[in-house]
Structures are given as C-alpha cells and as structure tokens.
Amino acid sequence: MKGRSITAPARRLLSICAMGLAAALCAPPGTVEAADRPVPQRPTLNFYGVTGLIDMPSGQSQPDGQFSTTVSQFAGMRRTTLSFQIAPRLSGSFRYVGTDNLNYGGQEDYSDQSFDLRYRVFDEGRVLPSVVVGLQDFAGTGLSAAEYVVASKQLKPELVLTGGIGWGRLGSYNALGTPFGPRPPVDAGEGGTPNTEQFFRGPAALFGGVEWRPTDRLGVKLEYASDDYGFEEGRGVIRHRSPWNFGVEYQAHRNLRLGAYYLYGSELGVTAQLSLNPKDRFGGGDRSKATYPVEPRPARSADPEAWSEEWVDQPQAADILRQNTAKMLARAGLVLEAMAVDGDSVLLWLRNPSYDAEAQAVGRAARVLTRTMPASVETFEIVPVVEGMPTTRVVLRRADVEALENAPGGAARLLGVAEMSDGAGRPAGLVHDAELYPRLTWSLVPYLAQELSDPDEPYRFDLGLRLGGRYEVRPGLFLSGAITKSVTEAFSDGQPLPSDSVLPHVRTDGPLYARQGDPAIETLTMGWYSRLGNGLYGRVTAGYLERMFGGVSAEVLWRPYDGRLALGAELNYARQRDYDGGLGFRDYDIVTGHASAYYELGRDYRVQLDAGRYLAGDWGATLTFDRVFANGWKVGAFATLTDVSAKQFGEGSFDKGIHVTIPISWLAGNSSRGTAGITLRPVQRDGGARLSVQGRLYETVNDYHRRGFERQWGKVWR
C-alpha cells in the first residue's frame, strides 16, 4: 500500500491514541486511583507494539481482551501500533510505520501500514515454554514483513527468557539458511491482500533475549536481534553495528509504560505503551447511585386485608397505580410506556433511557413494582420497549423478587426462576401513559472531524457542534435530525486532491462535503418502527439519511427472543446529496440493499455477513467479526469483497477496516446508554461502500433478547 493517503491510518491511529490516553490518564471526576490497586504484571510490548522484547517478539501473550497502543521511535523510524488480544491465544495488530529520509516509493519520508496476526500454539508448562507463531505485515508491501516462531519461559516471576527463529525481516541477520526455499518478491499491486506465497520462505535466523523485572514498575531488557536493517542502511537511515539491543522500561501508571533503549550499536530509541483492558473499568466499576430497595409485603396472616383483590373494583384504581408507578420509575431513571394490571398480575412496558444493562433496568422496575403494587399482585411481567416496540417479556414472581434481593448469589437464582418469552402483541387492558407523547428531546454535543487527503497538510481536524433533535409523535414514529456547525473552521482553506476514483464517487468526494457544507443538515429523517409479529421487527426510515445520501430505507429483522441467530433484509433507494449540506440532491441515485445474517458465537463473539448491492452499484458481501464484551465494549474487523476489481477499487484493493465502540458508562464509571465509537479504514474508496442508516434493527434490539439479558444479569440487583 503506497501513495499519498498512506498517512491516513497514522493520523487515525493518533486519534485512537488520544482516545486511549484520555481514557487511561484522565480518570473521570470523582474516581480516585485507589492506592491499593496493584500495578499489573502483564507481559510487555516491543517496538512493533506486540508482546515482546525490544525489536523482537516473544512467546508470551497479553491478557485476554487487552487493548494497547504503542508509539515507538528510533533512527527516524516511527511505529504506531494498535494491538488487541482477540482471544486468549489470538491477537491482531494494525500499525502505521513512518521512516524519515527513506526516499522510497516516491516519498522522501516513507509511510506505510501493516497488519499482524499472532497465535499462541502452546501454553507455558512447568518445563516447556509458551510458543507463539506470528505473521508481521502479512498483507503489505513486504518492507516490514516477517514470520516467526518464538518461545518464552518465565524462569522466575521476574525473569523471562525468549528465543525464536524468524523469516523475512527477522531472518536477515546472520541467517542459518533457507529451510523452506527462496522467498519470492512481493507483488503488492494495489496492496492489501495476504502475501501467502512469501510466508516462512527465504533465509531464517535466530533471535532471543531476556527480560528482568526487578521491581513492580521497573524492567530491564536485553536482546539479540535478527533484523539487519539492510534496506534502511542502504538508504542511509540507520547504521547497523551490532545485533545487541538493551533498554529499561518503567511502568509510570497502571496503563502506561515508558521505555528507553540503545539499539543496533548506534541508535537511541524510546517507546510508550498505553494499555488497557475492556474488562477492567476505571475506578473499578459502576459507581452510579443505588435505587429503591425491595419493599416486601406484610405476611398474609398478619394483614389479610392488604392481600385482598377488592381494589380491582374501585374505579380509577388502575390509573392511580399506573401514575404512581410512572412517578417512581422516573425517579429510578426509567419510563413507563404502558401498563395493564389486574388482581394478581401486572404487565409493564418499560423504556430504559438510563442503563446500558437491560437486566439492571428490569431489576429496578421490579423493585419499584414491589412498592407500588397491591399485595395481591403476584406476577410482574416486564416488557422492555425500544423505539415503541415491545421486545422480550421477562416474568418475575414477586415472591422471588422479595426472597432473592439479598440472598447469596441472588442474581443467578433470580435468573433461574425468571421466565422469558416473546413480548410481541398488545395485551388487552394495556393503557399508555397519555402524557408521554408527543415528546421532544434535543442535544448539543461537540464533534471532531478529520481530513486526510490534502497533500499540503495531510492531517487536518475540525471541531464543531452538533445540534440534534427528536420529535416522537407516538411510540415508534418520530422525526429526528441533526445540524452540524464547525467552530474551528479548519476546512475553510486547503485544497485536497480531487478523487481519482473510476467508480461513482459515493465516498471519495468527502472533502467537497467538508468544504462546502458548513453548516450542514447532517440528517433529517422520519423513522417508523414496528413489531411485525413473533420474532419479527420492521423499520422504515426516509429523508436525509446521512451526509452524502438521502432516500428511503426499509428493513425487516427476524430475531427470536432466544437463540443465537438473526436474519435481516434491507432495501434502500438512495440519491446522492448536494455537497453544501442543504436539501438538494445530485444526479447519482442507486437502489441498494443487503440480506444479513448475524450469529453469536459463545458469549463474546459475533459474526455478521451482509450480502447485496453497494452504493457504487457493485455486488458483493461484507464479513464482520466482533468481540463484544458484556459491558458494551466492542472491537471488530470487517472486510468487503465486491465485483469491483482491485485495479478499479484503487489503493488497498478492497474495503476493510476495524471498529471500536466504547460505552460511556465504562469511561465514566456511571450509568449511561451512550457509546463512543470509531471506524478505522486503511483507506476509504468507493467500492464496497454501504449506505449509513441510523438505528438499524439488529443493534437496536439485540440487547433485549435472552442472551442480552443474561450477559449482564449480574446487574439485575444493581
């Protein structure tokens, strides 16, 4: 992958760094880094941002889920790496490399990017070491490419010994020979495809080293490196005088490790490793407020009158109960959409604007019901409602709610006796809260926009404000929109290169939208959601769907309340919007749509396959693989192959990228439904581009199904 826009991922990575840094170092107000939280003793990272020594990898892995950003520099070579421990044995990395004065590929200061994958094939035993097989820069230009097999043994808690064999870059110094034949040259083409024919070919060389951590915070590393930096030395970037590297590292903060090194007998180098784990909340957990405790009923023998069902005959009894419940739910952060009550049961349609855990909302509503319902009401049927659609019916016996509030392991025991079923359909006697609709809500939030295509200034960012509004006419029917206005007006000058795409410019005209559209109507849509039947959800969205396209989008989702599988179909008519962010349209229009399958693998992993027609008229499919943490973190990767050839597509050959979603509740240590997300693509082209529609059904409703409740059921009594 080469060319002018290669700097893009670097800059995007910088924003990831900023995000990580902010998250790691700016603990939210009210959280105190507890003095008794120990400094973590996880394996450390190397100059490539993967688990390792200094410039060499090691046979260890990060803890499951660990998410780290490493910035390293020596000899004018900068590497910024985002690494994620996808599973206990598997990790992936995305890296930007910049080399000053390399004079290669038409650039004086060369920049490139690379993907790595590492798999731990053996765990460390009493005698045997842990062993990792790694592919470095396996789909790039080959400049950073290497493969390795490396073993590490923790001789003592503070001493780790590492030895391995490398190919490619890591087989270039003092090679033993070429065990698997010669290494063919890389045919990079437009880049972005795996160079499988190169793997483990060519000269192989040994490397190794030792890491000693005399204290919790201090580390000393020594290594023998098998990279001769011949290419860089030939271009005057570095002088390789010795294979020996050494350095010291210091854990400055729970999440930050700094290192200084002397490399290859000639260069000083530094690293900063910023590492966090989605499973490890700042400040340790959710510090949001407690709610009402359960109010148990008096014993029937002590107060038989309280248990009478005669209240049912009183006029307005149901109305009074509904109003009281609505008031108390509001104080618990919840909204009563509708209620039906009779002598021994209550059905509550519940909206949850406050808590990212649906189980927490259900638990809070159940506790409120113990306070508002007459003693004769024994069954609580709670149906969370999203966009006006009832989702899953959770049935709790009041006696269980009373008995298990404080019982040891009470959450799991409550799950054992809770019943769930599809909540579709409108029960008789259901009365909506008449005061809820119509309802107007608004928000004003800052945004950050980035631009990466101006050769004179490869990275430009712009700060602005987004004013959003939403007018709900009735449950499931609403008008919503957002207007953006730049504050710093960073895009008012500069001349980005015009798009060179041979496809319809469905995405690559982005700079024109940024230049000409300030202020802009970002979205302005009418949305309608409906439960179409058991397991079925429907959506129609019409209007200005996204900044570049407007039109009509219709979607159907089959998502049973139980199980792992969901299927969906979406059909859209989209027309390209004017650059100026107004109401006008350009000439290009397209019918686009996808059939989608979603499947949950275990608790934490999800795959999604979308097949259909993309915005530029190309046909193909997108495969997405996500790690979804119970607390709402999501880290995933996607790739789209369509009938657009690599040459037509341009740099990168096909569309691909990674995305990260972080729940605000995780950052802030409180309750919130908000999330912050970023999608990183090595390069944005026009092939494999999907219409962006807000509020797609799967993301809207998936948390409200059995597995979604179960994932966070521990919070039912929170």
Partner: protein, 222 residues
C-alpha cells in the same frame, strides 16, 4: 461520514463527556432528603479526614431514627447512613449521595454504588462474631469490570483481642475487640468488630471487595 469523523470520542473523553440535552431520566432521587442535613457536615470527599469537622453530637441529635457513619478507607470518603428499607432481617442503609449498604444486624452483605460492588454474600450472624475461637464460612458475590458475577469464598475464625477504648463523635466507649480472620483462594482479609458489654456492635471494619477495600462502620444512633 464515518470515514472521516471519529465523532465525539476524543472530545467526549477530553471534555469530560461534555454536552447537554433534555434527559428523560430524572436526575435527583429525593428519597434520601432526610439525611441531607448530615451531608454538609460529614462531606463526601473529606479525603483522609473522616469524620468531617462539622459532624457533632448536636447535629446527630437532630436526626430522627438510626444513624451509622460509614468510611471507605481506600478513597477517604465518609458519610452518614440511614435505613431506607427492610427485607426480612436485612436492612438497606443509604447515604445522602445514594450509596447503599445492606446489612444483617451489623454484618455487611451488600453494597451499591461503590464500584466493584459486593452484590450479595453468605455471612455469619452478628452474634457469632463475638465468640472467641468460633469459625465459619463466607461467600462473596462481586460484580467485576465486565459486569460478570465473581464468587469468592473464605474460611474465617474469630479471635478476641481484649478491651479497647474508642470515641465516636464526642462519645467515649469501652468495648471488646474481635478479629475475624478470613482466608480464601485469592488471599484473605481480617475484619474487626468492637462490641459493647451489652452485646451491641458499636464499630466495625469490614472487607467489601478487592478494589473497594474496607468499610468502617460506626453506630451513631441509637
């Protein structure tokens, strides 16, 4: 425009999650207003200095009903707790800033709002804690950073430590101090209890969880 907008993320973090709007969820939960009088006095961020200087016997006397003073040692926070709910033998106590502590007698079996909360626990009876040489089991159910329940179990023994004098907001007490030494798979902890001659538990220091640490509880009233 997801391709060029890393919307809000950096800013949300850097600007302290700024932004405003109309939020349907009500902000203040008024069910603890009765305890507000003590909030100013005991403070919620009197770091390292609890109880705060304004907490006096005179202020305590103005409050109706039972009152506890809770101090979270790891964060230097303290606040008064009043009972807000009763379920069987379990009492839910809460502070003015809506942190809740659930106790059976004087023995903590749950917390809400402290972070990695103790969600529930199998606990000994209060009376068993002043039986020198006694032993028992504890099981704790904590909520971890990924919202999963983690069970930790401990075996505990009681050790009488003799007489002790203490002063709780101007009032002196003579008490007998007991230690409950607990050991489990991931280490252990020692709880402390100060019992008066009449059997009342006047003060305790109880372990809540790995990241929350110890909670000190002092009975202010009755």
């Amino acid at each position: 425009m997801t391709w060029m907008k890393a919307t809000g993320l950096v800013l949300a973090a850097l600007l302290g999650l700024a932004g405003c709007g109309s939020d349907p969820a009500l902000k203040e939960n008024p069910f603890l207003l009765g305890a507000r009088v003590l909030r100013e006095g005991s403070g919620k961020a009197a770091k390292g200095a609890a109880p705060g200087p304004a907490l006096t016997r005179a202020a305590i006397d103005q409050v109706q009903g039972p009152l506890l003073l809770a101090t979270l040692e790891s964060r230097g926070l303290s606040g008064a707790l009043v009972p807000i709910g009763q379920n069987g033998a379990d009492t839910t106590w809460a502070s003015a800033d809506e942190v809740a502590v659930i106790m059976r007698g004087g023995v903590v079996r749950g917390t809400r709002g402290l972070g990695e909360d103790l969600m529930s626990a199998a606990i000994p009876d209060e009376s068993a804690l002043r039986r020198d040489g006694g032993s028992g089991q504890r099981a704790y159910y904590h909520l971890d950073g990924d919202d999963q329940t983690v069970r930790r179990s401990y075996s505990c023994t009681i050790h009488e430590q003799g007489a002790a004098s203490l002063v709780i907001v101007e009032r002196p007490y003579r008490a007998r101090r007991f230690e409950e030494r607990c050991r489990g798979d991931d280490g252990g902890f020692t709880n402390e209890y100060w019992f008066l001659a009449d059997g009342r538990l006047i003060q305790s220091r109880q372990w809540i969880g790995p990241s929350v640490g110890f909670l000190r509880l002092q009975r202010l009233k009755p």
